[in-house]
């Protein structure tokens, strides 16, 4: 079974796509073709979107699904008149919120993923630069770090740090445990003063070996034996050091990031 899905917004369409993806995961047997139509900010663009929706309806011989997060009611009503089944985020919920809050909406377009607060926005860019400058043990001065991810090479530290920086404005450093650290079964001395903000990442040795194999095929670094030794040594080191540790093998970046932030008590607003 096949359906065309549209994510439509007067802004980036990130909100409608996020909601759409969440809901569509509940229908794993339907094959969805997905089309993003961002920046629908005037009636002409809305009519063009409706043309594409109706074209898909005809081609599929079935109504498309539209996830609509257009704020402007006039432009939104053009979309609502298409041949699709429309999930209307603002239309559905803003009334409830107005009643709950006892105030009227302001109906400004495209605010959700814009630069709402310039100062907070700069924190986000600073955090991203921090993550880059403190990636992979490049700099080990962690005074300003909000958190430090520790684990063996290729356990998922870098993408998780970048994600946390971009999405939560968190200054996330990462340090790859070295052969010496693993042999000593102790965190290096420059990490010890920061133990309260360290989280460990670990991974199944066979998965680690696969990942390393694509980078350095046939190397000792990628060998199962080396990976087993590193993972076991790292897990025992982290356990002894009392560092909360998370398994990344079957987790997405979002899941790891959420768990780490929760564990370390870093309650930051998401961008």
């Amino acid at each position: 079974m096949h359906r065309t899905v549209f994510f439509i917004s007067d802004g980036t369409a990130i909100t409608s796509e996020t909601v759409g993806h969440s809901l569509l995961t509940q229908f794993p047997d339907v094959r969805f073709s997905q089309v993003r139509i961002p920046f629908v900010s005037d009636p002409g663009k809305a009519q063009e979107a409706v043309r594409r929706i109706n074209e898909a309806a005809e081609k599929d011989s079935a109504p498309p699904i539209v996830f609509n997060s257009i704020v402007d009611e006039e432009i939104g009503s053009i979309i609502m008149a298409s041949d699709a089944v429309t999930i209307d985020l603002f239309g559905t919920f803003l009334g409830t919120l107005e009643r709950a809050l006892g105030v009227k909406r302001e109906s400004k377009v495209g605010r959700a993923h814009g630069v709402a607060n310039p100062r907070r926005y700069e924190e986000r860019i600073d955090a991203t630069n921090y993550a880059l400058n403190h990636d992979d043990g490049v700099s080990t001065s962690y005074l300003n770090a909000d958190l430090i991810l520790v684990g063996v090479s290729r356990s998922g530290k870098t993408p998780t740090c970048l994600y946390m920086a971009l999405h939560f404005g968190v200054k996330a450093a990462n340090y790859p445990l070295t052969q010496t650290d693993l042999e000593n079964q102790a965190l290096p001395s420059f990490l010890k003063p920061h133990r309260a903000k360290i989280a460990g990442l670990t991974i199944d040795a066979d998965r680690l070996s696969q990942i390393r194999e694509t980078r350095r095929p046939g190397s000792r670094y990628a060998s199962l034996k080396q990976c087993y030794w590193e993972v076991e040594s790292a897990e025992s080191l982290l356990r002894m050091a009392g560092v909360p540790t998370f398994h990344t093998t079957h987790s997405s970046i979002e899941e790891i990031a959420s768990r780490v932030l929760l564990q370390l008590g870093l309650q930051r607003e998401m961008f």
Copy 2:
């Protein structure tokens, strides 16, 4: 006016927080305290969440707002019975979708930001590594690039590339225009074969000067005069080279990324 807002989910809570932020931007005069409660995956955790919600209701003397994206109906119903006004994403929309698709939901927990498709997931990690290895002109071999952002130093290229890699699995390189490029008023020769996948970023000179000033205070690099010259030269170079160019001064990373992907026709599913 003040209200407490909860983002609650059996997964990361990213979906409910995204929706919540979008809707709350429509009420700029209300001060919201925001609390994320992810991984509410059993009745005990739901009851603990309800306890926190009701505590906030009492403290605020006003019902909190709950954005709930718990999939499981039993666990969800515990949240629905709190003293809050609850916006229930799945409850509200899954019925509509079931009717539109003519199939029943599967109600699997926490799928939205998990590893749905391991192969696509690897593309995402590869893209992130690609962005890191092709950041700031480090490597200028662009054969495998999906796109290349070009602009003066600190015009927003790096965070935008990382964002596009993490969110869209797009292999995004970036190249900082050099003094020589600007004087020659031409793209360097290694970029010319890739013109169809190049986008330019530009920024107001005075904003650029501010940004650079925080990195190298008092430097020629940060001076208004130098920034004006670089921005003007870069804009004229990009115009002559026929490169579509985007202004970053008042745009968020999400907005820039969305516009660039739209312009270059890169229709990738969002992570």
